[in-house]
Symmetry: C2
Subunit: 208 residues, 2 copies
Amino acid sequence: MIGAVTENQDKVVRRRGPRKDAADNRDRVLAAAAVAVRRDGTAVPMATIAADAGVGVGTVYRHYPSRDALLGALTHRSFQLVLETARRAAALDGPPLEGIRFFLERTIEHGSDLVLPMHGGPAPSDQATVALRDEAHRTLGSILERGQDDGTIRDDVTRADIVSFGALLAQGLPHAPDWTATARRQADIYLDGLHPARRGKPTGGRSR
Amino acid sequence: MIGAVTENQDKVVRRRGPRKDAADNRDRVLAAAAVAVRRDGTAVPMATIAADAGVGVGTVYRHYPSRDALLGALTHRSFQLVLETARRAAALDGPPLEGIRFFLERTIEHGSDLVLPMHGGPAPSDQATVALRDEAHRTLGSILERGQDDGTIRDDVTRADIVSFGALLAQGLPHAPDWTATARRQADIYLDGLHPARRGKPTGGRSR
DNA sequence: CCTTAAACGGACGATATCGTCCGACTAAGA
DNA sequence: TCTTAGTCGGACGATATCGTCCGTTTAAGG
């Protein structure tokens, strides 16, 4: 027990990835957190998240050392989804407006998976998440510009407007009975409004 | 000094209203709560609200016996503002769409005064607030119907849609740098979308 | 099967927030 | 000015949540 210590240093077991149960728990915690945060707000007790995920609080804190880390991970995941959706929308063939429609409808469907920096959470602080966000903005911007170039989308709209509207729909109204249906109708109206302004309609004086 | 007790029973001081300082503090607490709730969410510590209002926690609890009572009062006040705005909008002479525009713009301006049942707060439970809400809905509905009757507003929009959109704008995006400006543009687009659908535009297949 | 690094989960002391209670203070009528 | 009902505000015990720590359990390579 005395001199035999150093000689098997290289026989140490080298694990490749994380253990299966650890990876599972990590995912379950994140999923439970997404639901819990949407339901109870960002101040939801960690114990609640742990219980919902079926793990102990210790496990939550091991994977995400602080509440901010957990919220940050949620934000990151949300932006991953947003970027993915934006890319799919950009890859579509149809008119640009249909790309935007696709993006908005998908955003609505993602519903509770999107725990964006809304809900009182912090704006993304880590570089990786900011990069995701910026890339998503650029991607949506490219669709928008296509529409504005070919005259099918009004010129004064910015990519930030589209993003904001998407965020509003994703955020929703906490106590609305059937938000998905409402959001769809809101999006439909909004998309109609994205057409270039009609001149000489008999709808009366929109002066400025 | 002996038998003279009973005869001045009716000389007891009768105060008319609440004391001035009490009324002041009541208002200041409500105003501070509105700001604090918007900033920190409905779970904001009562001590914070008290400090912001420049009073002690005891004063907060006297005027509003529980957190729910305070949030309820905020909701009530919000719906008062909404109803008032809706009535002004309904009283306007111009095209109905301009009435809706007025309503939305005013709602945006009210900004932080509107702490609607959003923000994770409870839906209105007391009868008086529900009555305010319903009356506001009816008032907005009357504007909408006028527009749909004279053909200047698309038929599939409901009063609930207008209310929801207004609520979204009032709620805003917590971390948006200049929400008022963004909200105005969103409203402008939305209002454009409220026109009846144009047939035969070259914008491509909005099939369903 | 055995070994071992790693993960699990809940008990625990520290801290934060709650809502109450009561002695000091003040507005306002007499 | 005097009186007093009503208000003020913060200290306080109770409760809730935090994040850590550590003995137990488990996945997985040998």
